[in-house]
Point group: C2
Chain length 330, copies 2
């Protein structure tokens, strides 16, 4: 290897016989400067505060809608690569191209892990895509959803009808209210499964952990009931998986597992899920006890017009296999 | 849903009682314009010709090296989020943060699928990371590598010593030449495994398919020998998986499988691998016959200073589980 003092104008390459080597910079170069978060015209750029110094850029064909509810700012974009895109307060929520991955996994990972789910609560998920997925389960008799923002639902209904179609299921009861408030008055042991799609992201230092929110989730579940919540990306340096799992084990008292799945429009191209069960019949999240493949999928049950595009029983189990850097710390 | 004629200044939201709704655009908006491929100062942007209209942006702290060999243009960047980054002719090759995923998977997927691999050929892979991973296999007695560009090797040796450490394995024989030329004179049935890390990307319409390249790869393998090559992203609209598998099945005559794994710095956040075996003892790529976990990993065998960060036997099998949109077409 070239030593420091051997470096000429080309970091040592000419000296080593690389006649074609032309060097314009070396390790002594000064730091380069640029915009902290550039926003080139005609492109949507999402910067994740969880992993600064990178961004996913989408070329935009048209702005289809921009509006502000009493809670949040919404944009619907037509993108070149991902079809329609919904942006909430500057953060990409879903795209037509890859919403299947997130919606199917956050729904079927918990619902396929327990036999015969009947009562399900969804907190957030106002787009309706998770409702569409719950709807595939013929065992389900009742679906509560708490979404605070009626305007968000209406915008999804207009621009993403294949996602918002979940609201058409007659088992759905829509509660326009804060999920935390709803849970305070929920009867103990009511639900077989609770899916939380309300805040982004989940971190042990998040303010939600200082509140009794997850305790009320655990109480609202029956014994051996399950919760699923999105949980960052394995690639984020900020993800403290051992601490996250320890925290949730203390709250839910049953099994706790972490899964991940590719979603290309999300920062780092993957999203994680945390799955917890309460004390009671043991839940092994890694093996679907209630595989969707074998009964409902592909049949006409529920409101979805097409069978699942992403989820299947093999993907279910595979999503719990973690790379060594993560596996060895849980 | 709001009908077209009901839309006022706010796409119908005010009419529906959303007093806070403020709309600045609707579906009748004209297409917006912008740079085709913006390059904000201080950021590296990679645009994939395989999936236009999106880009992965990395914030750059310093340019550590820029040079040109007789074959290609190279840049080494210090990035904020991924550590050092190597860019070849404008395309990101590897980053310090996530090179483990690509190097470990492209190596151990083939080598752990057959018992007792002894002779291995690597075409391309001049950075040395795949050599570092092959080096973990104690059964291997001989490793040939064909890399055309000596300057590329030297740049990796200087700036990525933990990657280029693979060259330090005494079983390695470096051939500075074109892999196609090397294969023409290779003895029939020589190798247990051949790893191709030379061109990007692999598509049935690629010029390499009109050449006898893959036939020479198949001939150089022993009966029941294996080849692994990177094979795009499942998310790319251009990936024609059935055609790809059909083409390779005709050439290699044994089993053909497709795997995928997350690599956040690559376009769409994942990379695929195509694995083929020649006629002879059947190879089931999905179940490691030679699991690295159980003997070499974590031991001091080979030149790597640390055990694998990403690969393990569970990740091996999981990488062959495909989402329904892909599984149902192979």
């Amino acid at each position: 290897m070239a030593k420091e003092e051997e470096k000429g104008e080309c970091g040592g390459w000419k000296e080593k016989g690389h006649e074609n080597g032309v060097c314009t910079a070396d390790a002594s170069a000064k730091p380069i400067t640029g915009d902290e978060n550039p926003q080139p015209p005609g492109w949507f750029a999402e910067y994740s505060p969880l992993w600064p110094g990178q961004a996913h850029f989408l070329k935009i064909e048209r702005v289809l809608f921009e509006g502000k509810s009493q809670y949040q700012h919404m944009i619907v974009l037509e993108s070149t690569a991902y079809g329609k895109v919904f942006v909430l307060d500057g953060a990409l929520q879903l795209t037509e191209k890859d919403e299947c991955a997130y919606q199917e996994m956050i729904t079927h990972l918990p619902l396929c892990s327990i036999p015969n789910p009947q009562k399900v609560l969804l907190i957030g998920g106002g787009d309706g895509g998770i409702l569409r997925e719950i709807s595939r389960h013929s065992s389900v008799v009742h679906i509560d959803i708490c979404e605070m923002d009626m305007m968000l639902i209406d915008v999804y209904r207009e621009f993403f009808p294949e996602v918002a179609i979940g609201y058409d299921d007659p088992r759905v009861r829509l509660h326009i209210m804060d999920g935390s408030e709803f849970l305070k008055s929920a009867q103990v042991g009511t639900y077989d499964a609770i899916i939380v799609d309300a805040f982004d992201p989940i971190r042990p230092e998040h303010e939600i952990f200082g509140s009794p929110f997850f305790e009320t989730v655990a109480k609202a579940l029956r014994e051996g009931g399950v919760m699923c919540i999105q949980a960052e990306s394995l690639w984020f340096p900020s993800l403290n998986l051992p601490k996250l799992i320890h925290t949730f084990r203390n709250i839910f008292k049953g099994s706790v597992s972490y899964a991940w799945t590719p979603v290309p429009a999300y920062p780092s191209g993957v999203i994680g899920f945390l799955l917890c069960s309460t004390e009671g019949p043991h839940v092994d999240f890694t093996r679907p006890a209630n595989p969707l493949d074998h009964h409902d999928a592909g049949s006409s049950f529920g409101v979805a017009k097409e069978p699942p595009k992403f989820y299947n029983a093999e993907m279910h189990s595979a999503s719990f296999c973690l790379p060594s850097f993560a596996r060895d710390c849980v």
